[in-house]
């Protein structure tokens, strides 16, 4: 097996909530206590993205999927763990040393209404990164490149002098994709790129992303909460819950035989057109806050199969005979 393009090793990310020293002090049971609180957004995630694939990360809000994306892109620095690109550790690089990776790795964002600078024309938006990464290029080279990317995302190059607000949401997302493609990246992190768009536009953008993958040989890390999109788009899927990966497998297997009880519930919750009557697996309670993580398996509070071991011991991702990796004691013990 070839080495992965991107590998995430033992990634953890905490956001400190407690503020200054004074804000940490509280008065409990007759004495002062110092209380430090943090959001445990990611708690030990290992993932490898193979060249040419589309690895999807799914989960509900607060599961840490976007934090994974932002940490991989260097927008956040990990609290622990490492990010490697093509065998080179990149999470500790700064400034100049990181520049080549800035070009090779690009990102597409969720909200097309916020991801374009409102004071810049489309021309300026696309020109700036090209000039920044290729200071030696001539005027014509830059212009040709802009034409090429605008053409490839289906935006008329004559519209370059317009501003973002003159376009519809779908068109803006195309422009944002063009900006990412302008520096010829190899790897693209897409953070919920279609969830802010209407159904008919979602299809356009998904098609565009698939076309770009084919023609440019791109590798995707695709973050989404929409399992239907995953089924269509993903090569492999990682299901996250409260900062951990609970199931990792190729897409077909996941939809055919989901193993983790959370994955099963998630799949049953998708409203399908064929059904006449929903038949959801009902989970107890709600997603706990990532501030006070439950002990043991983070899912035990809502899991119908939880036992004492689940409350105590954190399950590790273990490969099963179907090739699926699952972090679940019940699966491991054959109870499920």
């Amino acid at each position: 097996m070839t080495s992965p393009l991107v590998s995430i090793r033992g990634l953890e990310k905490r956001f400190d909530l407690s503020g200054s020293l004074l804000e940490q002090i509280s008065f409990e049971g007759g004495r002062f206590r110092r209380k430090q609180e943090a959001v445990h957004a990611i708690n030990g995630v290992d993932l490898e993205v193979q060249k040419g694939e589309a690895l999807c990360v799914v989960g509900e809000s607060g599961c840490g999927k976007s934090t994974v994306a932002r940490t991989v892109m260097g927008l956040l620095s990990p609290s622990a763990g490492e990010i490697h690109y093509d065998g080179q550790r990149i999470d500790n690089l700064d400034g100049k040393a990181a520049l080549p990776y800035r070009r090779k790795m690009q990102m597409i964002f969720q909200n097309p209404y916020a991801s374009l600078n409102p004071r810049m024309t489309i021309q300026q938006t696309l020109e700036e990164p090209i000039r920044f990464h290729h200071p030696d290029w001539s005027q014509t080279q830059v212009r040709d490149k802009i034409h090429e990317v605008m053409h490839s995302v289906g935006i008329d190059p004559d519209w370059g002098s317009r501003f973002g607000h003159e376009f519809s949401g779908g068109q803006r997302q195309r422009i944002a994709i063009a900006r990412a493609l302008a520096v010829d990246p190899e790897f693209i992190v897409a953070d919920e790129p279609i969830s802010a768009l209407d159904v008919s536009i979602q299809a356009q953008v998904l098609n565009l992303l698939m076309d770009a993958q084919e023609s440019r040989g791109l590798t995707y890390l695709f973050i989404t909460h929409d399992l239907a999109v995953v089924e269509h788009f993903g090569t492999r899927v990682a299901v996250m819950y409260l900062g951990r990966v609970c199931e990792l497998t190729d897409t077909r297997t996941l939809f055919a035989t989901p193993r983790h009880p959370y994955t099963q519930a998630l799949l049953s919750a998708i409203p399908k057109l064929e059904d006449d009557r929903p038949n959801h697996i009902r989970l107890k309670g709600e997603v706990p806050t990532p501030v006070n993580l439950p002990s043991g398996c983070v899912f035990h509070g809502r899991c119908p199969y939880a036992n004492e071991r689940c409350r105590q011991e954190v399950p590790q991702l273990i490969a099963t005979d179907g090739g699926t990796q699952v972090a679940c004691h019940a699966v491991e013990e054959g109870r499920l």
């Binding site: 932002r70 892109m73 260097g74 927008l75 400034g95 990181a98 520049l99 800035r102 070009r103 790795m105 690009q106 990102m107 964002f109 969720q110 909200n111 916020a114 991801s115 374009l116 600078n117 409102p118 004071r119 700036e128 990164p129 920044f132 990464h133 002098s161 944002a176 900006r179 520096v183």
Partner: protein, 310 residues
């Protein structure tokens, strides 16, 4: 190049900005009055019948003459004269000039400090933010006028009256500029914090752009419209602050009067019935501040109705 300028002009003429200006009678009238006053102030040396700084032109015999239309008035002094016999019209023209210079000067200084500190505090966050904003909080809770009075008093005490008179105009620009920077810094910081969360900033970071480039090229242009609104209102506030300081004797000396010191110099004679020395410059001051405030209100409504309450 001409096509670009034309298209920018066209863009302006099609903009909501221009559209709402054309439809707002109050805004048009305010702008016209402000323009008139600014022009009159700029061309004061040409327009004024006499030069109030020139002692040779002043005759003490002409003191406290009432405005035209009242008994005892002299047509040579349409708005009457002050206690020293200076032509009130001329002193008002020159005084407006001084007031406007201080107003604009102080706001330019405020804007410079406010934008810089606001941008740094908002974008860098952490300790820089905490320190800058704590200073701003303390200054604001003390009220800007109070800070200005204290700084003015300290300056006056350390320079002495004479010296203070000579450099008063720069002092006032400095005092008001420094006293009021937190107003602009807070506005800038608030909009930087809002902009920083937007994904175009992340997109710029992902591109590998440096901090300075992101701050000044990407974020700053997007915070300009609130700055514009608050700066307008701040000009009005600066003019009032100047008048207040001058009224307290901490501002412009009577030999080099601003509207505030004119009001102050007249205040001593109001008991004797010479109300015009105080009230005419007062009226000019109110009209000047009012039209700027009205323009500020209009700008705020156009640019962002939710911005800047109070």
């Amino acid at each position: 190049m001409t096509t670009a300028t034309v298209s920018r002009w066209d863009r302006f003429r099609e903009s909501f900005f221009w559209y709402s200006f054309k439809r707002d009678k109050v805004a048009i009238a305010s702008f016209a009055v402000l323009l008139l006053m600014v022009l009159a102030a700029i061309f004061a040396p040409l327009l004024a019948p006499t030069d109030p700084y020139d002692l040779a032109q002043i005759n003490i015999m002409n003191s406290e003459l009432p405005p035209v239309g009242m008994s005892g008035s002299d047509p040579a002094f349409p708005l009457g004269t002050d206690a020293q016999g200076r032509d009130l019209l001329s002193t008002i023209l020159y005084g407006t000039r001084v007031s406007l210079m201080i107003g604009f000067g102080a706001v330019i200084l405020q804007a410079f400090l406010g934008i810089l500190f606001g941008l740094l505090a908002g974008y860098l966050g952490g300790k820089v933010d905490a320190i800058l904003m704590r200073i701003a909080d303390v200054q604001l809770s003390f009220s800007t006028l109070m800070v200005a009075i204290i700084v003015g008093a300290v300056f006056k005490a350390s320079f002495g009256n004479l010296m203070f008179g000579e450099i008063a105009i720069y002092m006032l620009i400095f005092i008001i500029g420094v006293a009021e920077w937190p107003q602009i810094a807070r506005t800038v910081r608030a909009s930087v914090l809002a902009e920083k969360k937007k994904e175009y900033v992340d997109a710029a970071k992902v591109m590998g752009f440096g901090t300075r480039r992101i701050m000044f090229r990407h974020i700053l242009p997007n915070t300009l419209s609130p700055i514009f609104v608050i700066a307008t209102v701040q000009i009005a506030n600066a003019i009032i602050s100047e008048a207040a300081l001058s009224f307290l004797g901490l501002g412009m000396p009577e030999t080099q009067p601003s509207l505030g010191s004119l009001i102050k110099s007249g205040f001593d004679y109001i008991q004797s019935g010479s109300w015009w020395i105080t009230l005419i410059p007062g009226l000019v001051l109110v009209v000047l501040v009012l039209v700027i405030n009205l323009l500020g209100d209009w700008l705020r409504d156009v640019m962002n109705p939710r911005l800047y309450k109070g």
